[in-house]
Symmetry: C2
Subunit: 379 residues, 2 copies
């Protein structure tokens, strides 16, 4: 009679409508039936990306689209700014290095958002910088970066702005076109409520110009090949058919709900989670004002091992949240509020957290966390 | 009341057991539960690959693993032989070019298998050739290459042998270790009875040595990164969790059936398909002895448009086979006998083929194709 709850920041739970599509017999991809789905899904992705730019879908993890955003626009020996505020920001630097690109990292404290002024200063000091690679929401820290403000300092330069929105797309407001974000990459297993296995990339006109001169090595992630195929409603290589059919379903759900409503709802869940933590005497890892509405990273009290706590919640009570990554391992735990996670899931997570903290000897009044969350949710 | 039949050479139909796993709630990948599955799936892949070499799984189309087989072993300006006997053989040459590698193509007539002697001659004439890229079964032509004989001429040279077994793995006998095949790549949507979205690669000790010196650009498809992660039963990037769980299921089915039985069964289905075509007065595209047991490409009679025939079978009668690709478009059609396709599916396809050929005015005696196939199957 065990019942599983998943509140990790990727993968996030699948809606039953999505699970149902995944169980259907497979269809061939070069059929009018699949082409109609690919077309509709691409259009609906544009709604979620808030863009009229081209969007392409890869069969890969989110990192595949990140690689596409490096190897299609730049050439060896080019310079690019990489905002390193966590494990995923560091991935931009690793990718640049792998492709022979000189990365100029801005090392941000992991609990803080990048200062757009620091990006501006660098861009002014070196006119040859071709791209700025940053992150919407750092999954490893629960910190948000202010993409609107960053775009403001990048848009009038020659550099393109590339945003890793793997965590955050369909959760946080990201106005690709209005703000002038050149390239947005994302993945399927977070806000889009799908299993991992698809990645996405949107490409502005400004970014397309860089593609023409790029000399990085690429084949599978070639955007030129993708563009050529998409022009005839096709993909360059066999697409992940089942996942794209599921994507089409989840995008319809998102569109029906409306982005504004969705953003407001996650904002409320995020606040509820933060208030619950505070009511339990726990500290939010992100500095005030830097915390993401997609997930919350919470520090564990002295004497409590976060890894052990997360394991107990998962293995004893079937409530799966995430521990810390890299240097935050053992120090924080992370609760997602994105994708198919609702208020009752959050209350369940808080309630289980209270249960295990109590068992581990942490001193607080049972119910205070849940009550604080309820107060926000029911306001 | 329409009923769909899928007999395309990728994707192939999904067994109900596989569809069921795909409909399950998703689980997190960094859990003992998923790690056990990843470990078991990797072990069972070794059974199907007939190898003790390392095997890694990518979230990508089969082409992703082909890219991994180029960019991990070679360096720009290296030379490699590419066997071009169809669209997928040509992909090896395209990949080499994309990575700055000098490809030395052996252009094989599309209806014929490569002559191992031609490979031997080239290898002897140029000791700097680092790799031989070839194809087990050319999906675009239905032609098989004799990997055992090719391995015989490659194994005592410095070159590594890389085989694209995307079409053919789990269908045709490919004795990776016994024959000394250094690298085998494959995909999920053919013999392995899964949706597209996973690719696989096996790597011999001889091939590992090349990895150390390779200077091609890579990140997502880095085998060093894959190896490092697999050593702790993990993946470098979020894996396609749902597809890997499904893979574990399909591999168990294959193991239970036994490779020898499976190979014999598809051999029989292939023969049945060829005999049916001949009984209808149709010509097998592949030359005698070159035809693959994974799919059969059949030429259409004069005056019959293969594309139109395939469309009618699919859109009027819901029996989906494949037309021709590239230069064979309009000239051949292709029927798969791999994955979850059995004798009754083959009889259905032949019967539908007869129905549509009759409608299109082709002159033959109804039932002759089906009878010829039955004769082989029931022998």
């Amino acid at each position: 009679m065990k019942k599983d709850y998943l509140l990790t920041p990727g993968p996030t739970p699948l809606p039953p409508q999505v699970m149902e599509t995944l169980a259907r017999p497979i269809i061939h991809h070069r059929t009018p039936q699949f082409q109609a789905i690919l077309k509709e899904a691409t259009e609906n992705l544009k709604y979620v990306f808030q863009t009229n730019n081209d969007i392409f879908i890869f069969a890969s993890s989110g990192t595949g689209a990140m690689e596409a955003a490096v190897c299609n626009f730049l050439s060896p020996a080019d310079s690019a700014i990489t905002v390193e505020g966590g494990k995923f920001g560091e991935r931009w630097s690793e990718l640049c290095t792998a492709f022979g690109i000189k990365s100029i990292p801005i090392k941000v404290e992991w609990d803080s958002s990048v200062e757009p002024k620091d990006i501006e200063k660098l861009l002014k000091s070196d006119k040859n910088i071709k791209a700025v690679f940053t992150t919407l929401c750092e999954t490893s820290t629960g910190v948000n970066h202010d993409i609107k403000a960053i775009a403001q300092v990048v848009k009038n330069t020659d550099a393109v702005l590339v945003v890793d929105a793997i965590s955050g797309l369909g959760v946080l407001d990201l106005q690709t076109d209005n703000w002038c974000v050149d390239v947005v990459v994302s993945g399927s297993q977070k806000g889009l409520m799908l299993p991992p296995g698809l990645s996405f990339i949107s490409v502005s006109q400004k970014a397309w110009k860089l593609i023409e001169t790029s000399r990085c090595q690429k084949y599978y992630f070639s955007l030129k090949a993708a563009k050529k195929a998409w022009d005839s409603v096709d993909t360059p290589f066999t697409p992940a058919i089942g996942l794209i059919i599921a994507l089409n379903e989840s995008l319809k759900m998102i569109k029906k709900e409306g982005l504004a409503n969705i953003f407001a709802y996650y904002k409320k869940l995020a606040k509820a989670t933060r208030e619950a933590a505070k009511a339990l005497g726990l500290k939010i890892y992100a500095k005030e004002g830097c915390s993401s509405d997609a997930l919350t990273a919470i520090e564990v009290p002295d004497g409590i091992d976060a890894e052990k706590m997360v394991k107990t919640m998962r293995d004893t009570y079937q409530v799966t949240i995430a521990g810390g990554q890299a240097e935050l391992k053992g120090k924080v735990f992370r609760i997602a509020h994105m994708g198919y996670i609702n208020e009752f899931d959050i209350l369940t997570a808080i309630s289980c957290l209270e249960k295990v903290l109590k068992e581990m000897g942490y001193n607080f009044q049972l119910g205070q966390g849940v009550a604080a969350a309820q107060k926000v949710i029911n306001a």
